[in-house]
């Protein structure tokens, strides 16, 4: 009985210790615009889907599962989704990281911590007002910019134009 008691204590200790460690596994790259720019112009044999969003933006959160579905549907060799968060830098710990954990996001999430919006927003696309959600889909041959929300069907229809059949 004594050993069972010890075993119980060990198990309790281990199970308590493991949970917070597991929780800490969210890697979030914080980039300024210079660092982020390379994601907009990768010369690779695949299609990139770059979605600008934030946890406080309800239409963004609504369409996020469709982008996740792209990640789950396609091999990373063919299509890569990058979720670019425009959350406020002081809300990263309180909102963004918990959101990523809760929803178990599989696509890569970046925090774009870029001041001087009037300079970098037109560099993403000259027509962009800065409103989110906004999405860029591109590959070597084609690039389109969308300042809109998507339904799942709309998003996959747009993506299909970029994929070799």
């Amino acid at each position: 009985m004594k050993y069972y008691g010890l075993l119980f204590i060990f198990l309790t200790l281990f199970s308590c210790k493991e949970v917070p460690e597991k929780e800490k596994q969210v890697e979030l790259k914080k980039l300024n615009f210079e660092q982020f720019k390379t994601y907009l112009n990768k010369n690779e044999d695949k299609t990139f889907v770059i979605n600008f969003w934030a946890t406080w933006c309800a239409p963004c959160v609504k369409e996020l599962p469709y982008f996740e579905e792209i990640t789950k549907t396609y091999s990373k060799k063919d299509v890569e989704v990058i979720l670019v968060s425009l959350d406020f830098p002081n809300k990263v710990e309180s909102n963004l990281i918990p959101f990523i954990k809760k929803n178990n996001l599989q696509s890569e999430v970046l925090l774009l911590d870029a001041p001087n919006e009037n300079e970098w927003i037109p560099k993403v696309d000259s027509t962009w007002s800065g409103a989110i959600p906004a999405t860029v889909i591109y590959n070597k041959n084609k690039r389109l910019f969308y300042e809109q929300s998507f339904t799942k069907e709309e998003l996959f229809t747009e993506l299909n134009q970029f994929i070799k059949h």
Binding site: V19, P59, P89, N95, P115, E117, N118, I121
Partner: protein, 213 residues
């Protein structure tokens, strides 16, 4: 474990509150088609202030102009700018350019932007300027405001109130400590010095204005 579950539930509820309270619906880019351009004459208005009195720009005999800012209670960008808006009023009201804040949102769409909650927010933050309610959402389309916050700097001239600057308050909405260029301050300083405003138009970064479609 139960404690963890509770914490998770709390975070879930918190993020849900965030998600639903701060809708940023995309609107088509209409900035170029309607509303004022720099150089146009802007309309005056009579809108209800948080003290329940009506305010018109014509009430300000001694003003040289106005820093009209469309802003609201709920939008994270508006909240991020509150202290900077108060600072603008403190710096420029005495020099003849007071801030006039207008909430353009329809509370039927965004209930946090109700007139009663405007009073609460203004009191919490100690607003030093009028915070007016665009009842019926009639004034902001005339100005062509599409975002909160969205600034229209007006100068009193013999023909009326001329629009001198349209856009953002400064170049770093989300991070006040990273501001490099203060667009509105530069514009008002230029007017006060009788100089040309170098940058008289910028993109206003913020939430879309919430109205019934």
């Amino acid at each position: 474990m139960k404690k963890h579950a509770n914490k998770f539930l709390f975070l879930t509820v918190l993020s849900l509150i965030y998600a639903f309270s701060t809708v940023n619906v995309t609107t088509p880019p209409i900035e170029d088609n309607t509303g004022y351009k720099v150089g146009d004459i802007a309309t005056d208005f009579s809108l209800k202030n948080i003290d329940d009195k009506m305010v018109s720009l014509a009430d300000y005999d001694e003003a040289k102009g106005f820093i009209v800012i469309f802003t609201c209670n709920h939008c994270p960008y508006s909240i991020a700018y509150e202290d900077r808006i108060i600072a603008l009023d403190k710096k420029y009201a005495d020099k003849g350019y007071p801030v006039i804040a207008i909430n353009p949102n329809d509370p039927a769409v965004q209930k946090q932007d109700s007139f009663d909650l405007m009073k609460v927010r203004a009191k919490e933050k100690g607003f030093t300027f009028p915070y007016l309610f665009d009842e019926g959402q009639k004034i902001h389309p005339q100005y062509g405001a599409t975002r909160t916050p969205h600034v229209f700097l007006l100068q009193k001239e013999t023909e009326g109130l001329r629009v001198k600057y349209i856009g953002a308050i400064d170049d770093s909405s989300r991070n006040p400590s990273a501001v490099k260029t203060k667009y509105v301050e530069n514009a008002v300083d230029a007017l006060l010095a009788n100089k040309t405003i170098e940058q008289n138009q910028t993109k206003a970064i913020g939430c879309s204005i919430k109205t019934v479609k």
